[in-house]
């Protein structure tokens, strides 16, 4: 029987992880995601799992690497500066093909920044941010319900592709309290013949990312690239009143959530405005954006940053229509009215009727 509970966005992530069979969590306190380690410190022992508050975010990602190397479902969470610390570990997970879920409830930067919601970690999430030629699957929830659902999906994708997966939220989506419908996760765990389980009747398995022999690393990287290309089938996005939109707004996460109301405000004024909300930031919904660029007159990207996802939208649109941008770097959360006004500026500037 489905249950509806009134919980914090952060708690929804923790609950989704446990429901998906995650039994190993390694974390560290940092605002605005500390609810996640606090919740799991109580919940993990109850399900026979392990909660460990590590000495640093660096240690936490490496503990995840160890636990996941044995085939277990493991998670870590942090916020922007802590995610910066985890980049080396994430690169190693990708290179060694060890699955893991990393949750980033973004705060503002750069540097110590602040604790406001922000979308300034888009580049960090989709363009590395660690070293080497790798990709991380990135899921961007915009509600507490999506926190719950996408965290469960993150574990499935991590195991399916033997890759790190990032759940990218922000302070707003972490701290908000709203109803969440709890679900029962019934999927069978994926077999992991590569895992470190003790070399019984076989030679030892080696999980590594170092390949020194001539040509070996080249082959390894091409294999990884092929894997990342195959992730294109995991594209997820949502549209809202977009079919006949002349001005199509493009936004993810909390801005995508705020803009639903902005779209309604503008539709009430008779303006054909719609919304395309990417849910996977990698793989990016390139086809959907290209199709939208063919249909709409103008695309307008809105972000809580000085402009990061806008670059991917421009690339995907392939110049089929103009791509405008409004950014609000962190420090004050934009309201639906404010964003509707910005959309109208572009509506008028582009001569839309």
């Amino acid at each position: 029987m489905a249950r509806r509970v009134m919980i914090k966005g952060n708690e929804a992530i923790a609950m989704g992880a446990i429901e998906a069979g995650c039994r190993y969590y390694f974390g560290y306190p940092i605002t605005p995601q500390t609810d996640i380690p606090e919740y799991l410190s109580a919940a993990m022992p109850k399900v026979g799992g392990v909660f460990l508050q590590a000495e640093s975010e660096v240690a936490a990602i490496n503990m995840l690497l160890g636990a996941a190397a044995t085939g277990a479902r493991a998670m870590t969470s942090s916020s922007s500066p802590g995610i910066s610390l985890k980049q080396e570990g994430i690169s190693y997970l990708a290179g060694s093909q060890i699955p893991g879920v990393i949750v980033n409830m973004s705060r503002s930067g750069p540097g110590l920044g602040g604790i406001h919601p922000s979308q300034g970690d888009y580049f960090q999430s989709t363009r590395g941010g660690g070293h080497g030629d790798y990709r991380t699957l990135v899921l961007a929830p915009s509600t507490a319900q999506e926190n719950y659902d996408l965290t469960m999906l993150a574990f499935d994708l991590a195991d399916k592709y033997r890759n790190p997966v990032m759940v990218l939220g922000d302070a707003l989506i972490g701290q908000i309290k709203e109803p969440v419908e709890l679900k029962s996760y019934r999927k069978k765990p994926k077999e992991k013949p590569w895992a470190l389980t003790g070399a019984k009747g076989r030679h030892g398995h080696i999980l590594k990312s170092l390949f020194l022999a001539d040509g070996e690393l080249t082959d390894h990287n091409w294999m990884l690239a092929k894997k990342y290309k195959s992730m294109e089938k995991e594209v997820r996005y949502e549209t809202y009143r977009a079919d006949d939109a002349e001005l199509l707004l493009v936004a993810f996460g909390s801005v995508g959530r705020i803009l639903r109301t902005s779209v309604d405000i503008l539709r009430d004024k008779g303006k054909a405005v719609g919304l395309l909300r990417p849910i996977t930031l990698f793989p990016f919904p390139n086809k959907a954006v290209r199709q939208a660029a063919d249909k709409a007159k103008v695309l307008m990207v809105m972000e809580m940053s000085t402009g990061q996802m806008v670059e991917d939208v421009k690339l995907a649109a392939e110049c089929a229509c103009p791509v405008d941008f409004y950014g609000r770097p962190p420090g004050s959360i934009p309201t639906p009215d404010e964003l509707a006004k910005e959309a109208m500026k572009i509506w008028r500037k582009r001569g839309l009727k």
Binding site: L65, G66, T70, A74, S96, L196, S209
Partner: protein
């Protein structure tokens, strides 16, 4: 009766070490230390239950030598990786194998906290007072006055501090159950090293807590010495500053 006596082999390669040549330099003690660890893995019957966390240094390729499950760790992070391995598979035997750059420089936080938590793992620490793999730079365990590629005028206490005595430092933590410093520069010391490793393995297999064995080791190439000279340095100069012995053995009678 003139039958020839039957010969029995009294020394052989341990089963858990692969029959491949080492890439280590002539006279490097890694080769001996690998063998001593593998001998204990065999003696305790752990080949099928060992999960090892390799580190970054000359021994980064240890997975090519130990025939057990191994995961590579980022530089310095092996104790954290080992924590993840052991927490996920508490019935496994988990060890790390780390050099002094890995453990005492970048990995200082990870080793201190794994020891402090009393993780039931075994850490094999190979201290040759220099960053070996990268060509002989100064390390936190480099001795005062020692010339390295980043201390060309000799390590200065005034600007670089003195070498860190890791074994002593870890012994101050409640979570450390067994800590010993050994060497393999002569047979007497090698026998004590075997005993220390056996004791460390006993600690883990009996669930008695965190065990740590520091091996003073030679690095002929980066010390710019012959294998013999480097071997002698371990026994004299190194052992003078880093005294051999058992520093903590909480279950000792």
């Amino acid at each position: 009766m003139s039958a020839k006596a039957k010969m029995k082999q009294v020394f052989d390669r341990p089963k858990s070490l692969k029959d491949v040549p080492y890439h280590y330099c002539p006279g490097c003690h890694h080769g001996v230390i690998h063998r001593l660890v593998a001998e204990q893995i065999d003696a305790f019957g752990l080949q099928e239950s060992t999960l090892a966390a390799a580190s970054v240094g000359c021994s980064v390729l240890m997975y090519d030598y130990f025939d057990v499950d191994v995961v590579e760790s980022p530089h310095g992070r092996a104790p954290a990786v080992a924590t993840g391995l052991k927490r996920a598979r508490p019935d496994s035997f988990v060890f790390t194998y780390q050099g002094d750059g890995d453990l005492a420089a970048i990995g200082t936080a990870e080793i201190v906290h794994a020891a402090n938590r009393g993780e039931n793992i075994t850490v094999v620490f190979v201290n040759n007072a220099v960053f070996g793999m990268t060509g002989g730079q100064m390390a936190p365990t480099t001795l005062e006055g020692q010339v390295t590629t980043t201390s060309p005028y000799g390590r200065s206490a005034a600007t670089d501090g003195m070498a860190i005595r890791v074994c002593e430092m870890l012994s101050t933590l409640e979570g450390t159950a067994y800590a010993a410093r050994v060497s393999v520069d002569n047979i007497k010391n090698l026998k004590k090293a075997k005993a220390a490793l056996k004791r460390a393995f006993t600690y883990q297999t009996k669930g008695w807590g965190f065990s740590f064995v520091e091996f003073l080791s030679s690095c002929p190439t980066n010390w710019k010495m012959s294998a013999e000279e480097a071997n002698a340095r371990v026994g004299k100069e190194m052992a003078d500053y880093f005294p051999l012995g058992v520093y903590k053995d909480v279950r000792a009678n």
